[in-house]
Structure formats: structure tokens, C-alpha cells
């Protein structure tokens, strides 16, 4: 069972991962009608981080984040950090799963118990992961064209049915850059922008051709950001700022607005598909990285962990928050400053500088011996 994905799979996987749930749930709400500018600007530090992390990986070829940590801190300390990282990624998987469960519960299936939704989805994901990471890449490859097609279709339908009012985007930059900065730091930077560089630290080590993976990753990240910006524009232009801010799933509300020729209506199922596909991939990737961490800690292949961890993710996604409000509160108030920032930026940056310092010293010593 191979664990390498092709560059094209890596490309579509990254885009789908970035869109994931972010395209459906509203992001950048602090910036009001300038949310799209905020997303665009938040991508800049994202590019910088991708560049730095891929440089870090290229210093120690073939190693992923956890193995690099060993180089930086030594095995004992790296093990502690790896466990923390694994827990973080498994928690993100729980969080994303709960997003999906909540959407199904509040907008699609009222009476179905949340547990059933969570467990069935996790069974599928456990199967995918059990077959290996290559299968994740192939799932992305097969289904992402449908996702792009649905987003395209939605844009066209909304435009034809006359709901697209570009004037809702005005006034642009009414309060200056302050609200945009508030939206970017730390929320947008943590979700969804900062998630990309940090998953790259593990995924890039599993691409078939590492040399080009940085370039491909950057292109994918750029494309994903453009689609996110478009989704934000779509949401604001169709719903208006006020309704967008009050919607749990703005893109779903956008789909509900579609109605033309008395025939093209009720296309919400496509949005549920987009969300479900994005979430399956997000959970797969998060769990895979978490499992890789376990693999590093226990020095054994991750397959025996797949099924129990998947069921634990399903369980914890449900007991993590009692209500949707608590879930959202955690995601917007607690996760970004206390978890996203350290795990996605501070610790990797620390490793980055330590590794560079060690490399330099190493080279210097080498030169001295000569």
C-alpha cells in the first residue's frame, strides 16, 4: 500500500481542503462587506508560511514535521510535541466533523440522531485511511471536478435568477483597514488560511515529486483562495451583509435563493455535497497527520490505530460541545488564539529557526575541520 500521491492529486487535494467547510460557513465576518478583501489579504502570510515550511522540509529531505522535530529538539522532547500535535489534529477532525453534523441536523435531516451521521461518515473515512493515503488523493481527484462544477453552476444560476446584486459589496473599505485586520488576526489566519501550510509540512513529504511540490502547493493555495474570495463575494452580493452575518451556512442560503424559469430551484443538495466532500477530505487529512504522529511516537505503522481513532473522533465530535452556539464559540474565540496560532505558526517557526541554526553550525564545523 503506497503512501505517495501524485502532484495533480496534491493540487486538487489542497484546493478541496482549503475550500472544505470554509466555502460553506461564512468566514471573515468581522470585515462585514469587505470579507473578500480580508480573505485576499490573509492569503499573503499564507504564501510566506508555505514558502518557509517547504524550505524547512527541503533542508531535511524525506522527513515530515515530526521527524524534523526530532532533529530540532531530540527524540524525547519531540515525542511530547508530537503527541500534542496529534491531539491538535484529531481535535480539528472532531471540530470539522461537528460542523458537518450540525449542518445536517439543522438544515437537512431533522430527526436523524447526530451520532448516526457522525459514525457513518467516520466509517467511510476510516476505510479510506485504512487503504492508505493514496486513496485520499484519488478521492480528491475523482470528486473535485463535481465540486468545481457545482460552484460554477451555483454562480451562474444565482446570476440568472437575478439575485446577484454587486452593489451589496459597497461601500468598500468604509471603516478603513482596521476591521479587515481584526478579521485576519487571528481568525482567518487560523482558519482556513493557516491550516494549509501546517498540513503541507506532512503532506509534502508524501508527494511523488518533492521538487515541484512547493510550486504546486502555492498554485493550489492561490486557486483555493480565489474560489474562497469568490464564494464570499457571492454570499455578500446575494444575501446582503446582514443576512450573511446571521447565517450559519451562508452558501446554503445562497443556494436556496436560486429560482428561475420555474424549474431550476431547490439546488441545496449540491451545497450539501460540496460541504460533505470537503469535510470528508479535511477529516481524512487531519486524521492522517494525527496518525502519522502516532506512528512516529509508537514506531509502528498507523493502520491498527485507524478504526479506534475514527470512532473516538466521532464520539468526541459529539461530546465536545453541548450546543451549536458552544461549538461556534469554541471555534471563534478559543481555537484561533490559543491553539491555531501556536500550533500553526509559533512552534513551526521555532523549529524553522532552530533547524537553520543547527544546519549553519553544522556546516561551519564541517568547514572548520577541513
Amino acid at each position: 500500500m503506497k503512501e505517495n500521491i501524485s502532484l495533480w492529486q496534491f493540487f486538487v487535494l489542497t484546493i478541496t481542503f482549503e475550500l472544505g467547510s470554509a466555502v460553506v460557513v461564512g468566514i471573515g465576518n468581522d470585515a462585514k462587506q469587505d470579507a473578500w478583501i480580508a480573505i485576499l489579504l490573509a492569503a499573503l502570510p499564507g504564501f510566506l508560511l508555505i514558502w518557509m515550511y517547504s524550505y524547512l522540509l527541503s533542508l531535511l529531505p524525506g522527513k515530515n514535521l515530526f521527524e524534523i522535530m526530532e532533529v530540532a529538539f531530540g527524540r524525547k522532547f519531540a515525542m511530547g510535541l508530537t503527541i500534542a500535535y496529534s491531539v491538535y489534529f484529531f481535535y480539528l477532525a472532531c471540530y470539522v466533523l461537528r460542523d458537518f453534523v450540525e449542518m445536517i441536523g439543522s438544515a437537512v435531516l431533522f430527526n436523524t440522531p447526530s451520532g448516526v451521521v457522525a459514525v457513518t461518515l467516520m466509517l467511510v473515512i476510516a476505510y479510506i485511511l485504512y487503504l492508505g493515503f493514496e486513496v485520499v488523493g484519488r478521492v480528491a481527484e475523482i470528486f473535485s471536478p463535481y465540486m468545481f462544477f457545482f460552484i460554477f453552476l451555483l454562480s451562474i444560476f444565482v446570476w440568472i435568477s437575478g439575485n446577484f446584486e454587486i452593489k451589496n459589496l459597497q461601500p468598500v473599505l468604509s471603516e478603513g483597514f482596521q476591521p479587515i485586520m481584526n478579521a485576519i488576526f487571528p481568525q482567518l489566519l487560523g482558519f482556513p488560511i493557516g491550516e494549509i501550510p501546517i498540513i503541507f509540512t506532512v503532506l509534502m513529504a508524501h508527494t511523488s515529486n518533492f521538487k515541484y511540490s512547493r510550486k504546486v502547493g502555492m498554485y493550489a493555495f492561490g486557486t483555493g483562495t480565489v474560489i474562497l474570495v469568490w464564494a464570499a463575494i457571492l454570499q455578500i452580493a446575494v444575501l446582503g451583509v446582514d443576512i450573511k452575518l446571521r447565517s450559519d451556512f451562508p452558501l446554503l442560503s445562497v443556494a436556496r435563493m436560486v429560482s428561475f424559469a420555474n424549474f431550476f430551484e431547490r439546488i441545496d443538495a449540491t451545497i450539501v455535497f460540496i460541504m460533505m466532500f470537503g469535510i470528508i477530505l479535511k477529516i481524512s487529512v487531519f486524521s492522517f497527520i494525527g496518525l502519522k504522529g502516532l506512528e512516529y511516537v509508537f514506531r509502528m505503522p498507523y493502520r491498527p490505530f485507524v478504526f479506534p481513532m475514527s470512532m473516538l473522533i466521532a464520539l468526541f465530535s459529539l461530546i465536545n460541545s453541548e450546543s451549536f452556539a458552544e461549538h461556534i464559540e469554541k471555534g471563534f474565540k478559543i481555537l484561533p488564539p490559543y491553539f491555531h496560532m501556536p500550533f500553526q505558526i509559533y512552534i513551526p517557526l521555532l523549529i524553522f529557526f532552530i533547524v537553520i541554526w543547527k544546519k549553519k553550525r553544522h556546516r561551519f564545523r564541517k568547514g572548520g575541520n577541513r
Binding site: 437537512v108 435531516l109 468604509s174 444575501l239 446582514d242 443576512i243 436556496r256 429560482s259
Partner: protein, 399 residues
Amino acid sequence: MNRCFVFSMIVVIAFILNGCWDAYELDQIGIVTGVAIDKGEAKKLKMSVEIINAPELSPQQSKGNSSTVVYGLEGNSVAELSHKMNVAVSKKLDFSHLQTLVIGESVAREGLLDFLDYFESSKETRNDFDFIIAKKVSAEDLMSTTYPTENIPSMKIYSQLETGSKEWGTYPRVRMKDIITAMVSEGRQPVIPVATVTGSIEEGINVENRKNVEPKAIVTFTNLGVFKGDKLLGYLSLDDTRNYLWTQNKLKFTSISVPCGKNKFFTVRAYHSQTNIKANYRKGEPNIKLNIEMEARLDEIHCHADITKSNVYKKLEKKIEDHVEQKMTATINKVQNKYKIDIFGFGDVMNRQDYQAFKKVKNKWDEEFTRADIAVNVKVNLRRAGVRTKSFLTELKNE
């Protein structure tokens, strides 16, 4: 062993994946096409639902019975009532095909539109149904008044609204999104079309009414309801409604009759109308400019005019422009002086175009609106006139 495991998994998954929990078959649900909200006598509200009687809609199975069933129940919240209707109704109600929501006048007057929250956040209802205020009659009666060529009363109202807004501009198509956005916006107040029942209500709610050549009762649209927040303030006439639509750039077609002599008129069909609004503050005064440009076709003319000449076209254009400008200004002034609220959304335009100035006055925009200097500028391009060059009236001997 392995095959056994796979087989048992397939069986288990087949049970899990079919989504039985939320399955309702067609014969278990009653499709609601209309909802009417009246003021309750004992409780806060009275909600009436119109459920379709599906066999009556099919030409083969129809027995001439009523194609809809209307039932009303009193309660305190719409969300509860929508599940409590089964005290009289046989099936589970499904609101996803709602066409028309009728609101009683007294409910609107007292600002009881808070039930809209249910319709906004419910997963079943969408943004594709129309709103109507029932004037002088109860909302339930308005929703139950039958009509010969349409089986379902609320569908009649729905298509009446749709056609009317396209043909003449009788009523704006007000959807939930428009109302809610207008309610929360600082620079706009909502409007909802107003209808009443002309004729005898008792005979109107009978299927027999559909057998009359001249229906004994019929739903007619009379006004446009003007709201301040969630409270109904008053009514505008149908002519004002058309002018309102014009300011909203929502008027697709309309016919304008312009006087051209004593009891003589000429009528043009206007189309491709485009409205641009410019709003800003000049020397501390709100300044709003409406530029309307449209094309027109001469449909009818009672006066002597040689319409083979282009300068006659120019003269007619000027007359239409003056007429429309005057009527529009009158409508806007009436709203400014009588109701003192901005139903036109000029505040929203100001917010977009002159944000810094609007920010200072956004809490008292309606006051600013009443003293705003509003200018209407109409440009008509009269293109052609029917299939005759001259009217036969110009050749009449006895003139």
C-alpha cells in the same frame, strides 16, 4: 470469514444509510401553499393554513370538490402552531412549497411581524413566496376566496402578483429577504402590497364561486402598505406604487397615459427602463438625484399629431418626461411629508456612495430624508408607433 464480514457490513450499512429517520412519503404529507396570520382573540395569533387536495388538481380525478382545505388555529407562536394543526388536519404539514403569506391588517398595524423569525430560520421555507396584507377582511378569508381559472387561491394571488409586476408595475414582488433587509437597514423601510376582497366574503369562500361568470367575490390589489420598522403606517395608491417601483429600478414594463388636450390622452408603452440614483451631501443638505432612462412605443393617441415627423416625436417625448417627473416628484414628496420615512432606500444609496456623511446621520436618517432635496430627471426615447404611420383620427372628416 472475510466474505462473511463483508456481507454483514453491507447489511449493517444498508440499514444505516437509507436515512429512515427523515423519510416522509408523499401520501403522508399535506402540502401547504398558503399561510394566513390574523390576530388571535384569546392567544397572540391565529394561523390559518391552506392545504392542497391533490386529487382535485388532476383533470381525471377531479370531482368538483374544493381543491384546498383551509384551517385556522390560535396560538402564541407560528412554529408551535405549524406542528399543532393536526387537531383538525389529517397529514403532516410541509411548508416548503409555500406560495403566499397573507398578514392581517391588525397584525401589521400592531407590529406583530416577529413571527417572521420562524419563516427565516426554518429549513423548510425558502425565499420564494410573496407577502400580502389583507385590508378590511381577515387574512384567512382573503386566502380562501376562490377564482374560476385557478384551482388554488394562493396560487392565483401568486401569479397575479407576478404578472402584475411585469405588465404594469402594480405591485412590487416583496420577498422575505427584502422585508427583513429593509427592517434592519438604517437607510430603508419595508413595503408590502395590500389586497382586499371585493364582493361577498361568504360566497367567495365557496367552490360555487368558481362557477360564476362574474365572481361574487374576488381578490383585488388596492394599495402598497408602508411600514416603519415592523409597524404598518399607511397606504400608498396604485399609481404611487408604480412610481415606487420606478425608483427601485424594478419596473420592467408599464403604460403611461399623458393628457394632450381636453379629455384627450396619448398612451405609451415604456420598456427597458433604467434608474440610476446618485446621493450625496451638499452643504449639509442631503441631495438625491434620480435619473430614469427608458424606451417607449406609442400605443394610442387621441390628439392630432403627425407622427411621421421626427420633431413630433420629440414633442411627445418632452410631454411624457414632464408628466412622469411631476408624478414621481409628487409621490416622493407625499412620502416625505405624510409618512416621513424612507421607503425608497435612498439611505442605502447614500451609505454606498457617501459613506462618511451617512455614518453621522444613520440613526436619524428618516428625519434627514424628509428634508432631502430630491430631483427626478426622466429621459424618454420614443422609438416607434404600432404598424400604422398615421392615426386614422387625423383623417376624420368632421374635425
